[in-house]
Amino acid sequence: MDQTQLLKGVLELAVLAVIAKGETYGYEILSTLESAGLDGVGDASVYGTLRRLEQAGHVTSRLEASDSGPARKYYAITRLGRFQLEAGSKTWARVSGALDGLVSP
C-alpha cells in the first residue's frame, strides 16, 4: 500500500508530536518527518495541517524575521494540543497494536 495514503490519517498526530518536542517551523517539521522515515508526506499537506491545527487551537504561531530571507513562522504546541497528542497517541498505539497482530505472520 502507498505510504502516502497511510500517512494522511496520522499526519496530524505526527506533526503535533514534532512540535511537542519544541518550538519549530514548517521546513524543520518536514525535515524531521523525513528523517524519521515519513518521506512520502507532501510539503503542502504539512503546511495545510499546521494551519488546521492552529485554527483548532492545538498550536500557536509567531513570525520571526530572518536575515537571509522571508520571516519564519514558528509553531508551539498548546495545552489543548498536548491533550490531543496524548489522546491521539493512545489511539495510535491501540490501532497499531491491533494491526501488528493482524498483519504479523
Partner: protein
Amino acid sequence: MTLDEYVRRFEWALRDLPWKMQRELVAELRAHIAELELGQGLEKRLGYPESYASDLRAAAELGPRRGPVAYARSRRPRRVVAGSLVVAAVITAVGLGIGSLVWIESYQPLALANHYLYPPGKQLTGLDGVQAGFHAGKRFEFGISIVNNGRFSVRLLGVPWGYRSNPWNARLLMSPVMPNTGETIGPDVPFHPIDLPPNGVVFVFYKGVYACHAPEDAGALIYTYFPVRWAFLWRTTTTEIPLDEPLAILFTGARGRGCK
C-alpha cells in the same frame, strides 16, 4: 517555471479565500521555498502550483468559498473600498439624476398674482363668482396676472383653451406688471413667448368683443381657470391657474340657452 510565476499560479488557485489568508499562505510558501533553496526545481519538489494549493487546502480543510460576501472578502481591502466608492458614486449619481428628473417633471412655479380683469358689466354673485352677460359685439376683456414663484426662469408660450370654443373675438395681449403694486406698466403688446424670471409678473389678457362661434346648448359657460402653456428646460406643459372668482358668461338668447 520561475518563482514569481509559481507563486502567481498558487495565488490564483486561492483567489476565493479571504484576502488576508491568501497573503499569509503566499508568504508561507515564499518562506518555505527560500528554505528549500531549489532554484528552478520547484515543480519537481512541490508539484504544480495548482496541485500544491489543492493539497494544502485539503489538509487545511479550506473548501471553496462562494457568494458575494466571500467575493468581497477575497478582494484586496483598498480595492473593496475603491469599488464601494465607485458603486456609491454611481448610485448617488443615478439617484440624483432620477431625483432631478422627477423634480423637473413636477416643477410648477406659476400662480395667480394679485391683478385680474373681468368683462365689463360683470356682477359679483357671491358664491357663484363673477357673472357677465353675453352680448354679441359688446366689448369683452378677460385676463389675469401670472407670477413666477419659483427660483428659475420659465418660458411662457401661450394660452391654450383646448377643445373649448370661447364666445369672443379678442386678441391676446400682454403687459408687464409692477411686482410690488401689481399695476400694469404697459404698453399692452400682442402676446408672444417670453421668459418669466423668478418673482416676475406679467399680465395676460384678452381684449375684443363677444362673438358666437359654436352655439352652446347651455345657459352659461363657466371659467374656473386660466390655462398657461409654458416650458422649463426640456419640459413643456400646461398649467391651469385657478381663478379667484370663477367667471360665468350668461347667455340670454331667445330660449335663454346658447348664444343664438
